[in-house]
Subunit: 199 residues, 2 copies
Amino acid sequence: MFYTAESVEQLAEHFSQLPGIGKKTAHRLALFVLKMDRPSVDALAAALIAVKEKVRYCSICSNITETDPCAICSSSKRDRTLICVVQEPNDVLAVEKTNEFRGLYHVLGGALSPLDGIGPDDLRIKELLERIGAGGVDEVILAMNPNVEGEATTLYVSRLIKPLGMRVTRIARGLPVGSDLEFADEATLSRALEGRVAV
Amino acid sequence: MFYTAESVEQLAEHFSQLPGIGKKTAHRLALFVLKMDRPSVDALAAALIAVKEKVRYCSICSNITETDPCAICSSSKRDRTLICVVQEPNDVLAVEKTNEFRGLYHVLGGALSPLDGIGPDDLRIKELLERIGAGGVDEVILAMNPNVEGEATTLYVSRLIKPLGMRVTRIARGLPVGSDLEFADEATLSRALEGRVAV
């Protein structure tokens, strides 16, 4: 395209490789960068590099962190007898936001998905078993995504942990707060019935 | 937020300053960058800086370019008697894509908008008049956005150019191709009636 600047096209090309950003948005972002002042652009570029340079995975829970072990694993205020197993670092954030959980985490780094070629060896399941094997854990909470891959992972992991003799739980599946029973899908409603609790 | 890496938060903060990117998307992008390989992140960061370093505005038409004058202004294949006036560099791209226009451009850098404090002195209107004053221009096509600010700019610019004795035209407002007359808004339909042409 000779009717615009080459480096704008190149930046748009890079932006369009990010998730959820199409060609038009990428182009709009590139032109926006052109209008930003130089220090802001430098700061954005530096922040990109900093993420790759500073962020590592916690050697205990595999969550993202800048210090190893991470702030949660090294905190004295957390309940070390409780481990919540999640798929991604983002999920840790989601659980933390509830302010309900005071235990530790274990990030698997994904879910079992044979179609995508993701097997047990691609997840940090071995590391989870080693943590549990070291003792001191009373309960493992499995908090996978409520879809096919998450279900498969929940079943697989629970079968490995149960023989070790501790409580293994999963987070409840049911109607989301604020939703409408009338519009709930069959799968969700049947899980909600299955998981009913005494009032 | 102590439960995630500081530099991820910082990158998300930077991303959320881009147009159309909210807090959640910014966070998702930051985590995606974390998963990208190092060379890709370096390339993205370099592309950001390159845009600010290499791109300038053409001294003739004010379009974005890496060479001054830009490829269009310095091309021997373009019709120099015809100038299409647009608001933004993006608009040049849009007109070029039609493959219908072989003249030159003039980018105003916005539209008159008293509410936003944008007056005639903030646009490159003086430069346009100088270009026309230098002679050799037969027709000026005004291709502003069909909204209030664009209309005001069209009227303002046309009043300045008309006394100079050349043809001043504006692009047609009417029904978009592929649309439905039934669903056209009144303003568009009345412009389409006004602008009717002989069959």
